[in-house]
């Protein structure tokens, strides 16, 4: 039956889950390492590298987080194997969520410059 086959295309194997777990662990370690190099205990001993990475701290951190997000959603939440409708529902929600975050930040930055002088919060 076609619809049944669509749903049951197959999930990842246990070996694949282990691979993803290792990747997630490494990415988390990189996030913490990035913080330690830029602002933590390693910032003095690796001052040169810290100077290079610090301007990109937020961008690199968000990139690593989004990568982890993608791996969990695709493999652990089975979006890679389930019907596309579910990916569409989740993707649509994420787009709206991102728009909400950006719109609220933009609105408050605008209002802050308009109404509230620095230090009035």
């Amino acid at each position: 039956m076609a619809e049944h086959a669509t749903h049951a295309e197959g999930h990842a194997t246990a070996g694949k889950y282990v691979q993803i777990a290792v990747i997630l662990f490494v990415l988390t370690a990189l996030e913490v390492l990035l913080y330690e190099v830029c602002y933590g205990h390693l910032s003095h001993s690796m001052a040169g590298l810290a100077g290079t990475l610090e301007p990109w701290f937020v961008e690199v951190l968000m990139g690593l987080s989004l990568l982890k997000f993608w791996f969990v959603a695709m493999f652990y939440m089975h979006l890679k194997f389930d019907i596309k409708l579910l990916s569409g529902m989740f993707g649509f929600s994420l787009v709206i969520a991102a728009v909400v975050i950006l719109a609220l930040i933009a609105l408050f930055i605008y209002n802050r410059s308009l109404w509230w002088p620095s230090g009035m919060w």
Partner: protein, 205 residues
């Protein structure tokens, strides 16, 4: 609908198959997860808007402890791995595998919730009450709601563990665990965002 489809729907834990080819409960949990994305988006926005706006301390740099939160993050990530292995066991009809990995998942959930209780009480002792400043209010609201989700997820998984121990979670009802696992993974991906945005970025300049 053919007999095969009816059988599948019955095996999946008395759910109903839809014309989309997936169980209606699975569709419902995805719709719920979609709504939760917006819920956490507003809380994260609030935290970001108020970031660096507090006129009095304590500030994140005064109180955050990276090693503790990193340990909590690692435990939550591992719990996602454990629950997906438990689901793998349930789908294979391997009861021992199911019980082992599901028990570990519940333990991880308890550890994370415990870590957050310790963290909150520690911060409170350091003078960071809920209404101390803008940072504290937005921080406690965001991480507190996430902690509540972890607690509910742990309770949900614990009830499934109880079913599994009693033998009430056979291969045909693996979808029950899959739905709980989807919720658990969502809680994990929210923390994947919260950890760098709330903790690491707040400690940076």
């Amino acid at each position: 609908m053919t007999t095969a489809a009816i059988d599948h729907g019955h095996d999946a834990g008395h759910g109903h198959h839809t014309s989309l080819g997936i169980d209606n409960r699975k569709l419902a949990i995805w719709a719920f997860i979609g709504s939760e994305c917006l819920f956490f988006a507003t809380l994260i926005s609030t935290f970001l808007i108020y970031r660096g706006q507090s006129v009095s301390g304590p500030t994140p740099k005064d109180i955050f402890e990276v090693p503790l939160v990193t340990a909590g993050t690692a435990v939550l990530l591992f719990s996602s791995f454990f629950v997906v292995m438990a689901l793998n066991g349930a789908q294979e009809g391997n009861r021992k595998k199911l019980l082992t990995w599901l028990s570990l998942t519940v333990l991880c959930g308890c550890f994370f919730a415990g870590m957050q209780v310790y963290e909150f009480s520690h911060f409170n002792h350091l003078g960071l009450g809920y209404s101390t400043n803008l940072f504290s209010a937005s921080f406690y609201t965001l991480t507190g709601f996430h902690g509540a989700h972890v607690t509910l997820g742990t309770l949900w998984l614990a009830t499934l563990l109880k079913d599994a121990i009693k033998g009430d979670l056979p291969q045909g009802k693996a979808l029950n665990l899959e739905i709980a696992a989807l919720y658990w993974h969502f809680v994990d991906v929210v923390w994947i965002i919260i950890f760098p945005v709330v903790y690491l970025m707040s400690l940076g300049n």
